[in-house]
Symmetry: C2
Subunit: 148 residues, 2 copies
């Protein structure tokens, strides 16, 4: 048993999935991002539609988002909390999300990110996720400027 | 063993929590709503702030929302999906949410609702929830008019 195996717990395995997801996002690698979802994933994404169902539909949405945000993706997790029992887990965190444009200026904001995961053999995959930015009750404006 | 006990599974127990939460919401009964959260609940609500931590802070936010929406609350769940294993569960659904004003007109829209639950003894309680409405990438307007 090497050091890595000795230290691996469900929580560290899930953190590794989140880290790889974030790294793939930085690389703009939608194919690698999609390996972290179950085939029947149900996503409540921050933009466009109430929901996306299935890896194929969700991949098409990811590609559309990456095309829309033509700059270099930037992302950062904060206050990640993970809970798991048996073959189920959930994690919730804040996520700074945006891009650096061709002029070198960063356009990003803090969002909320929830993932609900299912273990399939040795792999933890995202069966459901929910991403959003809150809005102001009085003005209905999206609150892009909130910070942790 | 009576018929109810014989039929109770984690899924039916969780559905009963969601049903009671929704009934309490219809009654505007914040105290009863709050019984369904853990003391350390972390909420990503649809409005106002990135997050709320702890039952006390979240109750204050619920009361502020109920005061803001002075009409009769209306709510409806659709496409509820529940998964559980051991002492952990998650559920995700669409939720029509709004109010009927004093003029009798309903002002509501479809949102997304995710709950992450933990079993404490016999009680399933919400340790994390995420509520939101998506926005339009091009205009940044909140999409209040989407339907399932």
């Amino acid at each position: 048993m090497d050091a890595r195996t000795a230290q691996e717990t469900p929580e560290t395995a899930i953190q590794a999935v989140l880290d790889d997801w974030l790294d793939a996002f930085h690389q703009g690698d939608v194919e690698r991002i999609m390996t972290h979802y179950t085939a029947d994933v149900r996503s409540f994404d921050a933009v466009t539609a109430l929901q996306f169902r299935g890896r194929e539909d969700y991949a098409a949405h990811w590609k559309a988002c990456m095309d829309f945000c033509s700059g270099e993706p930037v992302g950062e997790f904060d206050q990640v909390e993970i809970e798991c029992d048996g073959d189920l887990a959930f994690a919730h965190m804040l996520m700074r999300c945006g891009m650096v444009g061709e002029d070198g200026r960063e356009n990003s904001g803090w969002m909320r990110y929830t993932v609900c995961m299912r273990r399939d053999g040795n792999a933890w995959r995202i069966a459901h996720e929910h991403v959003s930015t809150p809005f102001d009750m009085n003005t209905s404006a999206v609150l892009f400027d909130l910070t942790p």
